[in-house]
Amino acid sequence: MTEIPEHLLKRAQAAREKAAAESGASEAAAAAPAGGASDEAAADPRIPAHLLERSKARKAQSESSGGGGVAVQEKVASVVTAAPAGGGVPVGAGPGGHTQRLLTVVKSGSIQDVKASPVDKVHTWPHLLAAEFVAALACLSFTFFFSIFVNAPLLEEANINKTPNPSKAPWYFLGLQELLTMFHPMVAGVTIPGVGLVALILAPYIDKNPSNKPEDRKFATSLMTVHLMFWAVLVIIGSFFRGPGFNFTLPWRDGIFFEL
């Protein structure tokens, strides 16, 4: 047989003693007459005074506005008080003849720790999937029709001995190529993009501001916009404003030297 821990035995012993004491008390209470219930209820010590006050105030308010009533202690007492059938206490009735008792008032958060507030959610199907499907279809049809009308470039076969003028990198690297015209290759090709990339990766660890509200993030937003615009402008210049010898040209004057 399992050994029952000592502290549990002690606790059980204490509970038994308490129960014995209480049963003695309740026998004494049962001997008392059940009359005068509403008087007793008005001063019922089991219901905290401030709750009674609040419920009374609500009742007065709802009566003046004619709205639905709130069950108030007094009313309950007058309605529920059972007429003593044979002078004795009805079966199942509590002290004062109440069939219901307020046992305890549990404040929210005292037992359950509510961590997450409920979030307004919708079903993925159909709300999200339908949107994704339409977006994918639109993207596919755009690519499809664009491909019907515009052909991908295919110049003559690669020839290592024939350098085209100008020679340009793919468009997303044209910002770098543009930088090469301004700085030492070490700076333009390594330092600037390297710092940019590292800053981009570390952005969440550098930006300690916890808010995601645009009005709280004016500095971060400005910095990113300047960063993005920096590269966008360089790419546009490199793509459209650079001609033979990678010299500056105007696309409307000299034409476009750019293949996608």
């Binding site: 994918a136 993207c139 020839n159 020679s167």
Partner: protein, 261 residues
Amino acid sequence: MAKILDDTPKPTVKDRLNKALDDVQGSQAWSSIFRPGSIFRKGYTDSPRNRSYVIMNSVLYHLHPVKVKRHAVKVSYTLCLGGLSFFLFILLTVTGIFLMFFYRPTDVQAWNDISNLQTSVTFGLLVRNMHRWGAHLMVLSVFLHMARVFYHGAYKPPREFNWVIGVVLLMLTLLLSFTGYLLPWDQLALWAVTVGTNMMGYSPVIGTQVRFVLLGGKEIGGDTLLRWYVLHVLMLPFVIVIFMAIHFWRVRKDGGISGPL
């Protein structure tokens, strides 16, 4: 002899069609394919329970939760950019596999193969166009996705690491595009890659070595083509799929997409 009169009306075409549909949808094969709750299953009705089952009982459950935040389905919030980047990746995979059937990565054959693909293969030109434009679109959409995420402050805790993965994905996308740029082996490809890899050579200490390994020699040639072909069709897609899986998984583990603002 009395004629037995059959009073039941002759089934109309519509009735027959409905019955045929019911028979197909009620068959064992059909219900073995579509799990309970599938919209294609017999007797699907639009109920909250079935809406949950559509996701929970399908392979989509690997990607999407049953419910998402209400603001998350607003197109104006995400502009679908992340999803479109993924869709473009799939489109590029499909068109890319088609192109692989007609392409040999050697300096003698590559350009001719592409040229033949455009002129003699059914839909060859169209598929090549879609592959090329889709690739440019993907670079653009990944880039715009990054800007969107930044402006929404969506990289903040607990999503910091997913941002880092996202930057890696952007780099991988650029590398995929760049390696694919060489494959047509025309003047555009050769010289764009020459310029690009020359920039790489400026990196300190390891620059020349990295360039040598990537080019398979001191200059771009047939070896480079093979190397970049393998990178483009096998290694980089493999790596990017792994990072994408982690990226999507983290989106859900970090509590869905960010916001609302």
